[in-house]
Amino acid sequence: MGSRHDALVNPAGRLPQAAPRVARVRAQDTITWLVALAAGLTLLKLLLYIAAAQPFGGAEQALCEWDCQWYRHTIQNGYDPEPRLVTEHDFTNWAFFPLFPLLARALKFVTGLSAFWAGTAVSVLCFIGFAAVSLRYRELTRGPVVRQTSWIVLLIVFPFSFYFLAVYSESTYLFVTALLLLAVRTDRPTGAGVATALLTATRPTGVLAIPYLAVERLWHARLAFRPGLDFATRMRILADSAFPLALAPLGIALYMAYLYWLTGDALAFSHIQLAWEREFVNPLKSFYWGVMKADWGALLDPHSPQSQIYGAMFVPIAGITCLWLLWRRLFLETWLLGATVLLALTTGVLSMPRFVLTNPVFLLALGDGVDRISSRTVRISLAAVAVLLQAYVLYLWFLESSALM
């Protein structure tokens, strides 16, 4: 799946087939150890968060800010049949896509945990899942020299990584995106179709994976028309092209059918955006308006509206990251980050920092940067600074800072 060329460019792509069995077993042991490290550090971090939340009203109150309250409500009660007034706006939870709340609701049903802790558990498990899948993916795309331990440390100390333990869909999105990237890289079209279906059930921006898969599968389908093939082979190639592609929109299609049953409007998830005052605007205008606002002062007041220029600032950051990924010929990564930011920009710059900073592709690019720091001392120093920053960002989260919404 588009990996043949990349594998030639990047010798690491051939490693699993070429390496001797002993080396593969050793690599597997290393990955297992690193996943165990990620799991241990994640649980330790969660315990520290819970302890830090005590002076702010306890974990359930202090850790559950902004959209967490919507997810908690959805895990507890399912989707609302009609809007309800929340502080002068008629909101409902239709905008929050179902995969994460469904997983948490299932866990709540099985374990008897509260909605908040079931959501937290799903986030933690998905985050560990992302760590595991991303290790393998980085090995395939970045080569055997990547600093995998540094990658795990980066995921843990990244200042905005508290989102990955929050009752948010960020971790689910991370995990499912990593599954998609790995399926594409390892030439598993049905896996890529399933991962895309899950992605479209996680967030509306999940649909952006469909065009990439469509182009790639249609390109594959052309092989069916080569001369000299028998009928069965042609049919097999067409089936291998059509089936993954048909799977891809399944997540969002099921959600739309459910919303039609619930509200009579299959596009209710989109129409409800009105309550958040999100309406379609030219993305260039969105960016320009954000920059011209020049409201840096809003960052200093946690209760001010989110700073527009702070949000706009992440657009060029994402742009530069995309250029870097494009230069490395990581086309799917480039598309997933660039198109997500562009789509988000069509409704303004609100929440743009979160969309960029918690994007798995942005994290992978950040990992590339860390891989290039050869000095161990510098890497340890940066990790220490990141831990301090994370503590500060967590404090802002407890204060309900609008910069983090």
Partner: protein, 209 residues
């Protein structure tokens, strides 16, 4: 065998997506949903519980400050602060829509409105109800009444009143009512205090001619 299954599954899913696309194109919603989300002529949701059953008869005077949400949504349809204050509710700046239902026996309706206090400017307001246009410039800090004729029963009537404001005022938002991440003050058009139904048509002002 697997190839056949894959092709059949792809065809089946394709047909299912067509059905979902048809659903998306043809929503099956009630008038409230349609106004709220599809045509955007209302942004205050009247809950199903309030809409179901026979509506309560309209009183001759509706004091906005004395009815709470969601009852306010039956009147304040577009661009208002729906949680009224004790005196009434502010509209947002630039434009707003008000629903003025017909009341049996009423031949006119009178709105009691107010403007933001000085140093805000006078607000030029254009009211359009059932084709009847009234334009007023209301000085700052003023409470005034504006009358509109209602057609006799049996004649066509559009209860949607469009209001547009040439300028706007600024008022502080009560901190206890502010949603998070909201500004501390708001641009407003006019404040609506009451809707009063009158049994007689208003007498036109003398022209002096």
């Amino acid at each position: 065998m697997l190839t056949t299954l894959k092709l059949l599954a792809a065809a089946g899913l394709g047909a299912a997506y067509l059905a979902v696309a048809f659903m998306a194109k043809h929503p099956r919603v009630d008038a409230e949903y349609d106004a709220h989300y599809l045509h955007r002529s209302a942004n205050c949701w009247v809950p199903l519980a309030l809409r179901s059953g026979d509506p309560a008869p309209l009183p001759p005077v509706i004091e906005i400050g004395k009815i709470g949400y969601p009852e306010t949504c039956r009147f304040l349809r577009w661009r208002w602060y729906y949680l009224p204050e004790a005196w009434g509710a502010w509209s947002l700046a630039n434009s707003a829509k008000l629903q003025v239902p017909r009341r049996p026996g009423a031949r006119a309706v009178e709105l009691t409105v107010r403007t933001a206090p000085p140093p805000n400017p006078a607000i030029p307001v254009r009211f359009v109800l059932n084709g009847h246009v009234t334009e007023e410039e209301i000085p700052p800090g003023t409470t005034t009444t504006i009358d509109f004729p209602l057609p006799p029963e049996g004649e066509a009537y559009n209860p949607e009143m469009n209001l547009s404001f040439g300028k706007h005022g600024i008022v502080p938002i009560d901190p206890s009512r502010r949603r998070r991440n909201a500004p501390k003050e708001s641009y407003v058009g006019i404040g609506l205090i009451a809707i009063r139904y009158l049994p007689e048509q208003p007498v036109p002002a003398a022209t002096g001619g």
